[in-house]
Symmetry: C2
Subunit: 527 residues, 2 copies
């Protein structure tokens, strides 16, 4: 039986939610009740992570309505349809199969005679073999020397996710002996991006991974030319330095200009492609194929939890419901992602894409405009850095911004100093614990300038350490949260028509086919 797709504001349980008494986070988190909430409002995740929502503006009453809403909106049923191969991306009439790159969920999905899970696993295997050969010195440069650097050329989903995950695991890999090649990334059409990266590497020992599903992304093809120019100028044969990650039907697929091509397909959206060959090639080369496999396992374990019917056993669904409650009942327009981990410094930028590109929509799956706010603005920087920056507004600004913290008990490198009786790692953890309470409970003061109103809701994901498994679980959690929110808002989270108009107009500018204000701006830029 197919799921029913309905607008959020037509659901009885959403109306019930709107009528529920609001929770004062300040009251709820004070005293013994606060301590109880920290113990009780906690959901186990994969890879040793825990999702704690004690400091969110919910209580047992509201959670009970969440259960009804999850059921009425058929959230897990829709997820099942998705991974079993229904056409969930209705706008582009495509399946949505990124879970199959890592999971054993559901039935086999056969499309055009191909078992898609086997196809993705096959590409992962091809990449593993290739990376092992590169690391073993079986695949070498023209002079017979080993490659030392891998450079990803891609933009958007082909850049932000893989880059964030590389940065997240770089120190861990170095510490654990899983580091093979330094990775660099070229994304922007700004020529200073490619030129700057190329000036900083040894091109003779660099392997370039060109990532474009269609094989036609303007920025990526332009940057490929940049790289080929640089290789030619160094007297090197480009075809011995480049691999492609693309779809089987793209012009890059069977092309003698590349050492090798690895495939994804139209059923993996760019912003959900980190677990496909898009992330697989660069991460397997930089680290090891085993590290990438462990990362996929973490994501797969977390995916399983996202099939649980009960909200309290499904952290991604619970997180999604809390976010929709904050957006559509409490009326908060943005949300901050605050990892207390320098390794996660670019994870907010990746989730900014994943979230805002997926759910920044005004029409529902049937092409009708919705009457309620959908995806919020998402931003964030690592703590404790953010504490010395924009936290002032979070604590004492006129708007309430819901917060999502991430923290780990242990550092990755294990190098630490003991100052004033504690290590840096303990100071880091103490700070995130303190912030949750400061935001929730605030502080009274005779001087209004030193008063903290509190009532700023937050959740936290706590883990032992940021590892390939916990990184995979984190990625899956947020991807599935975004998916469930899209189901609740009844939008298609898997297309991105909003990026088209700018492309069309930019082509007109370059073709000098403009008039009015666009012509004037083109003139200002001397185009």
């Amino acid at each position: 039986m197919m799921a029913n797709w309905k607008n959020l504001d037509t659901l009885e349980s959403f109306k019930e939610l709107e009528g529920k008494k609001k929770v004062s986070v300040k009251e709820a988190m004070s005293g013994e009740n606060g301590a109880k909430r920290v113990k009780n409002y906690s959901v186990p995740m994969a890879a040793g992570l825990t999702y704690n929502y004690a400091a969110k503006a919910v209580d047992d009453d509201i959670l009970a309505v969440f259960e009804k809403l999850a059921k009425e909106a058929e959230l897990t049923e829709k997820f099942e349809e998705l991974f079993n191969g229904e056409v969930i991306n209705t706008g582009e009439k495509r399946l949505v199969l990124h879970h199959l790159t890592r999971s054993q969920l559901g039935n086999d999905v056969i499309k055009d005679g191909v078992n898609k899970r086997e196809f993705y696993l096959g590409e992962q295997k091809k990449i593993a073999d290739f990376a092992n050969d590169v690391h073993a010195g079986k695949i070498v440069n023209g002079a017979g020397e080993k490659f030392t650097t891998v450079v990803q050329i891609g933009i958007g989903g082909s850049d932000l996710g893989p880059r964030a995950i590389y940065i997240a695991l770089e120190n861990w890999a170095k510490k654990t002996g899983n580091f093979n090649m330094e990775a660099k990334f070229i994304s922007n059409v700004d020529p200073d991006d490619a030129a700057g990266v190329l000036a900083g590497i040894d091109v003779a020992h660099s392997l370039f991974v060109l990532v474009s599903k269609s094989g036609t992304t303007l920025e990526t093809l332009t940057n490929e030319s940049f790289v080929k120019d640089a290789l030619a100028k160094a007297g090197l044969d480009a075809s011995k330095h480049m691999v492609a990650v693309t779809s089987e039907t793209s012009p890059l697929a069977s092309n003698s200009g590349y050492l090798k091509a690895f495939f994804m397909d139209d059923f993996i959206g760019g912003r959900f492609s980190s677990c496909s060959a898009v992330g697989g090639a660069v991460l397997s080369l930089a680290f090891t194929p085993d590290v990438f496999a462990r990362f996929l396992n973490g994501a797969a374990e977390e995916d399983k939890l996202a099939t649980n019917k009960s909200v309290k056993e499904n952290p991604a669904m619970l997180d999604a419901l809390i976010g929709v409650y904050e957006r559509n009942v409490l009326g908060f327009p943005s949300t901050a992602l605050l990892p207390y981990s320098q390794a996660l410094s670019r994870f907010p930028a990746h989730l900014q894409q994943a979230d805002m590109e997926s759910n920044g929509k005004s029409v529902n799956r049937f092409g009708e405009f919705v009457n309620y706010p959908t995806g919020p603005v998402l931003f964030g920087e690592p703590g404790t850095n953010g504490q010395h920056s924009f936290y002032q507004l979070l604590h004492q600004g006129t708007d309430i911004i819901p917060l999502q913290f991430i923290g780990f008990n242990e550092s990755q490198l294990g190098v630490d100093v003991n100052i004033q009786g504690s290590t840096s790692q303990k100071k880091l953890c103490a700070n995130v614990a303190a912030q949750i309470i400061a935001f929730a409970c605030g502080k009274d003061d005779e001087n209004n300038n030193k008063k903290f109103a509190g009532n700023r809701p937050s959740s936290i994901i706590i883990g032992k350490q940021l590892t390939p498994e916990s990184m995979g679980a984190l990625l899956s959690h947020f991807e599935n949260k975004i998916m469930f929110q899209g189901f609740l808002w009844n939008v298609n989270s898997f297309d991105q028509e909003g990026v088209q108009l700018g492309k069309v107009l930019a082509k007109k500018v370059l073709a000098h086919d403009t008039e009015g204000a666009l012509k004037e701006f083109s003139d200002l830029f001397e185009i």
Copy 2:
């Protein structure tokens, strides 16, 4: 005569502004009128920059009220009082003198018998001499060898601004022969930050710049210990590798543990300290003292424009008024900063601090709660990267996010390729021009999913190239915009009481002096 400080909603011209007919950006930017607006709604800035606000939701009527509002709020008079040394930071009872680090504005400010302008210039000169000696090999490491790397240790304002400016000018300096030392930055108390940076540099040839105004910033002192540990383990004398940037009264000031100390004072707020010794030391060492002086000159030229009484000749004041109009009349809660320049990749993070920490306040200068929204959420990433990420929401999301673009006609490195009839630099420029029109005018379509409502307001700062001068002008523009907005909202933009509570609670956690929810979270982190 002293200026009158009044709440925004008590000003007659603000009430007039609220009653003015709203401008449809879509209508205004269409056809010949749009072309005229691009020509007319343009203000020259310093260093060859131009502020263009054609695509903002204003017209001549609204601009006329802006003139009244600027006058009624006494914006330029307040600025004059500020740079002439009044106690503008009322919360901390401090002068606000960051303009004197670069400008010849106003009267001499004598405080405690010291001419402050001469003091700041004197520190700039001390830094220049020191940097020249380091570059010339007169100041060397213990083995008599030249330093090759400079590492800034600081957090918040001691990190974000200097880091953003270093990244902004790194390629330019390399291209123009003004590059002397690679710069790195350690900020987070997360031990993996310091350990990661230290593992990637040659400590024997590294000079560390410890930046803390008070000399007591927890993160910075902890990271200093990290560095001293590393130096000791390498058998090096730390005192030959470290300089301090601090206040004259701090424990770091006269300390044999440092090669040299450079001074700032309490009248330079951290987030406004890039033009003081905080930015001066690392930037003069990485590049040259002359590059830093040119950067200051650009800022000084832009500061002069901020004294102009007429809104149309004062780009920072105009930008500030537009932002307040968008926040308090049109009701938009966030704003995006979108530089089409990879070199400006961290400038949004710096401005996020400068803006949100300055104006994320709920009380006015007299400690009374205000009845209107103040500082918005500010976020951003470079274009064209953002186009492949969160622009979907900006174009088709349910909320309108005002936009602030930055773009340059020329790249910094001058390396480019011609693909499909245009260079990468022209493609970059074509994209930002196209985006302005796409956001403003939108596009109709039978398919709602492909419809763009338009009416998304944006401004753009256009320059010839990102150089020290134009970087200085950009920084000044935004600092002064933030200042003028603080004047309009009648908040004290120069304190940050909102960062205190978290610090106090973190200390309690580390002292095991906790109960209730805070104790439970401390236990989860095994503190």
